[in-house]
């Protein structure tokens, strides 16, 4: 199981004022607040930790089918920071996940995965896109041989053989991100695959 989260740093800077009184205390654990205080770039630290919480929540939500708003429930601990790649652990709600994040000038993207799965090796696509569903139907995984759809309201990536695997979608500002598990499992009808790969969804930019 995996969950991911992308944060458009430009939008986050204007949309959220985490320096507001009481904000950090509502969202972050005492250990996380210390990391933010000590950080050379506190904005990056805030959004790194936040993206970890969101990615972990997506796993929790998918497994438990529960919706809650409890950012403090998950504690994010960055362990290795190499240039623009960060990895570490997330603990909370009785579970422990590994995470892997990528930092660019434009965004922070974090992938979390359950134990036994290395989040850094899961296939990821980041898209600069107009925010609509049609552009997401083609995620570009595997040379456009796969498409994205929803099963019971939750995202899966399906290949041409009609096999699907669990996926996670995130959207913020200018960015969409999709991550999927490595193995396809469970045959789904080829017809439903074709339905989402019909010409209407071929997704070339600029077409009406």
């Amino acid at each position: 199981m995996t969950g991911n989260d992308i944060i458009d740093l430009q939008l986050a800077a204007t949309e959220s004022n985490w320096r507001r009184k009481g904000y950090l205390e509502k969202v972050f654990t005492p250990a996380e607040q210390e990391l933010i205080t000590a950080a050379t770039d506190p904005d990056v630290m805030v959004w790194l930790l936040w993206s970890g919480k969101e990615a972990a929540y997506k796993i929790f939500n998918r497994v438990s089918r529960q919706r809650i708003y409890a950012p403090q429930k998950w504690e994010v601990t960055p362990l290795v920071w190499q240039k623009d790649q960060i990895s570490g652990s997330i603990k909370g709600a009785g579970a422990s996940y590994a995470f892997s994040s990528k930092l660019t000038a434009g965004y922070i993207h974090t992938v979390a995965a359950v134990s036994g799965i290395n989040p850094a090796v899961l296939p990821v696509r980041i898209m600069l896109a107009a925010a609509d569903d049609a552009c997401l139907r083609h995620t570009g995984f595997m040379n456009h041989q796969e498409s994205l759809r929803k099963e019971e309201g939750l995202p899966v990536v399906m290949n041409r053989a009609g096999h699907s695997c669990i996926a996670s979608i995130s959207h913020h500002g200018r960015y969409w991100s999709v991550v999927r598990m490595q193995q396809h499992q469970g045959a789904v009808s080829i017809k439903s695959f074709m339905a989402v790969t019909s010409p209407g969804f071929s997704g070339s930019a600029g077409r009406p």
Partner: protein, 86 residues
């Protein structure tokens, strides 16, 4: 401080207005309105909604109550119970 649910709903509407991205859902705001799914409030802005609600009503929303703050009904229930002093 005694307030009926209609008054509370109006105050919640005022609080969420700057953060709501779906204006249509905001127009039709009711107790079933979901902050994230309907109003499309960014999850990082839901903290602002909670802080604003605390300030408006002079209450403290603990973590346990905050967990449930995903729709208007839950927000009104929480404010009502805090104002009642529980």
């Amino acid at each position: 401080m005694q307030m009926d649910r209609t008054t509370l709903l109006a105050t919640i509407r005022e609080v969420v207005t700057p953060y709501a991205k779906n204006q249509e859902a905001l127009q039709q705001l009711n107790e079933d309105t979901d902050f994230i799914k309907d109003l499309k409030i960014n999850s990082a802005n839901l903290v602002d909604v909670i802080l604003d609600v605390e300030e408006k009503f002079n209450i403290i929303i603990d973590n346990e109550s905050m967990e449930k703050m995903i729709n208007v009904k839950a927000a009104i229930d929480i404010v009502e119970s805090k104002l009642a002093g529980s």
